[in-house]
């Protein structure tokens, strides 16, 4: 991936502008959807740090068993 500016990302492999798309994430035995930037050509997904450390981490915490 390469960054053209703070708001627009392009796919490093295809040089396509990423598009917002609802994407399925599977972990800890469950599937969740979230809208993230996706390359329209190869399907590569950009997971921003704030998502990984924010909501995704929160979901993981909520699914943590006792």
């Amino acid at each position: 991936m390469s960054e053209s500016n703070e708001l627009l990302w392009r796919c490093g492999r295809c040089d396509e502008a990423l598009e917002k798309k609802k994407t399925v994430f599977s972990y800890l035995g469950r599937s969740f959807t979230h809208e993230v930037d996706v390359c329209p050509k190869c399907g590569a997904v950009l997971i921003p740090r704030e998502l990984a450390e924010g909501r995704m981490a929160e979901v993981e915490e909520q699914l943590e068993d006792k």
Partner: protein, 435 residues
């Protein structure tokens, strides 16, 4: 068929004696013999769960598990295998009920620790990393200074403060309940034996269902989560298991879950028990599935991982609009029960599910039937506001006490000087003696 050896106590004199688990016709009995008082056999696991039983019983004690001081030297000794998850602190022996069944034999006028003395206990617990306390009794709400006690626990560094209560004062004295919430109470663990007055008359000698519902409403007004705690007694309220769960689901998010406690015979009870006076964990699970029409199934539950697997179970859920249920319980991992941090995981799990969010967003959370609960944000909002647990704990009495189980206990009672496993603290013999 013999399943394995363990140790127990004589139900009469409480001396430590060898014991054996014996399977007969799909049931499991604990059998033991006291040189002075004779042989004893008691049901501990009725009705096979098939392969599920093997899974639950797969626990193997670690090498060197001798617990040589068990159970009289509890405090804890080096033979104890789990750390403290929750520390229970008795703040009074008084009670506003006189229940025929009471593990704590409450209702007496023993001297009570002052707020300053309790603060020292909380401080000592917190310094040892025990930041989850249960305020218990007797009935803690008979103390007018309970809000100060809650505040003292929080000030001492206890970040989760649970109140064990019959709920009577919580429902009848809203100002008092508001003061508890303001002081930092986390949630209420409320005695709740059924939906009919008959269950309360038998167990509590009073008609209480109206008071219980009022207590839930008042706690909800001040954003205090309530977990319902039924004591299950054969021929009294077993048939109400499904109704209790249905009611709890209908009162989500005010009600955070149901925690079943099969009756144990210690403290005060009407008569020494026969086997048909007991209900065991697999029976509770089977009744949950049958009485909820399969809404909750056996596979939705896992054995305790923070205590011995035969001491309890839990299931993790989210209540969706119109009472639909999302199931979160993952496949059981037997290794988790021996993990060194299982007490911390359990503490975090319980606090997460039983505490209502500080700024409850449930009103703003999507409640439309068409909402997509697979969407990460929608799920997060709903699981925080409407997380729901069904759990159970089978306390051990002088007949059922299995020292292998006792050494895995993580629910401990603090007297300020030491912490003692719950069942070791409260076990009483058929004669009125205590360890």
């Amino acid at each position: 068929m013999k399943l394995g050896k363990t140790e127990s106590v004589c139900p009469v004199c409480l001396r430590r004696i060898p014991a054996e688990r014996v399977a007969r016709g799909g049931d499991v009995f604990l059998e033991k013999s006291c040189p002075e008082h004779g042989a004893f056999s008691v049901i501990v696991w009725r009705g096979g769960l098939g392969e599920e039983f093997d899974k639950w019983r797969s626990y193997t004690p670690p090498d060197g598990d001798n617990g040589s001081k068990c159970p009289t030297g509890c405090g804890l000794c080096a033979g104890h295998l789990n750390k403290t998850c929750c520390a229970l602190v008795e703040i009074t022996r008084r009670c506003n009920l006189r229940c025929p069944v009471c593990f704590a034999n409450g209702g007496t006028d023993a001297p009570e620790p002052s707020v300053a003395e309790l603060y020292k206990i909380f401080k000592k617990l917190a310094a040892a990393g025990n930041t989850f306390v249960q305020l218990s009794g007797g009935e803690p709400t008979v103390r007018d200074d309970l809000p100060e006690i809650v505040a003292a626990a929080r000030r001492a560094g206890c970040d989760t403060v649970q109140l064990n209560s019959n709920g009577i004062r919580l429902g009848s004295d809203p100002d008092f309940t508001a003061a508890l919430a303001d002081a930092g109470l986390s949630f209420v663990f409320m005695q709740f034996d059924g939906m009919s007055d008959n269950s309360y008359i038998y167990l509590r000698d009073s008609q209480l269902i109206t008071e219980k519902i009022k207590a839930i409403d008042i706690c909800s007004r001040f954003n205090l989560g309530v977990t319902l705690v039924p004591t299950l007694v054969p021929r009294v309220n077993i048939k109400e298991i499904g109704d209790i769960i249905d009611f709890a689901v209908s009162r989500s998010p005010a009600v955070r879950g149901v925690h079943f406690q099969p009756v144990s015979y210690f403290g005060r009870y009407p008569f020494p028990p026969a086997d048909d006076d007991r209900i065991t964990l697999p029976e509770v699970l089977q009744q949950i599935e049958i009485q909820t029409g399969g809404k909750f199934k056996l596979r939705d539950f896992n054995p305790s991982s923070c205590d011995h697997p035969c001491c309890g179970f839990h299931g993790d859920f989210v209540v969706l609009p119109r009472g639909r249920i999302m199931k979160l319980t993952k496949k059981y991992n037997p290794d988790a029960c021996c993990a060194d941090d299982s007490h911390l995981k359990n503490r975090a799990f319980v606090a997460r599910r039983w505490t209502r969010p500080a700024n409850d967003t449930s009103a703003a959370a999507p409640t439309d039937e068409k909402s997509d609960y697979r969407d990460m944000s929608t799920f997060l909002s709903r699981v925080k506001s409407h997380g729901f647990t069904i759990s159970a704990m089978a306390f051990q009495d002088a007949w059922t006490l299995d020292l292998e189980r006792l050494r895995r206990c993580s629910l401990h009672v603090s007297d300020g000087a030491r912490v003692v496993p719950f069942c070791a603290r409260y076990v009483t013999g058929s004669a009125p003696i205590q360890l």
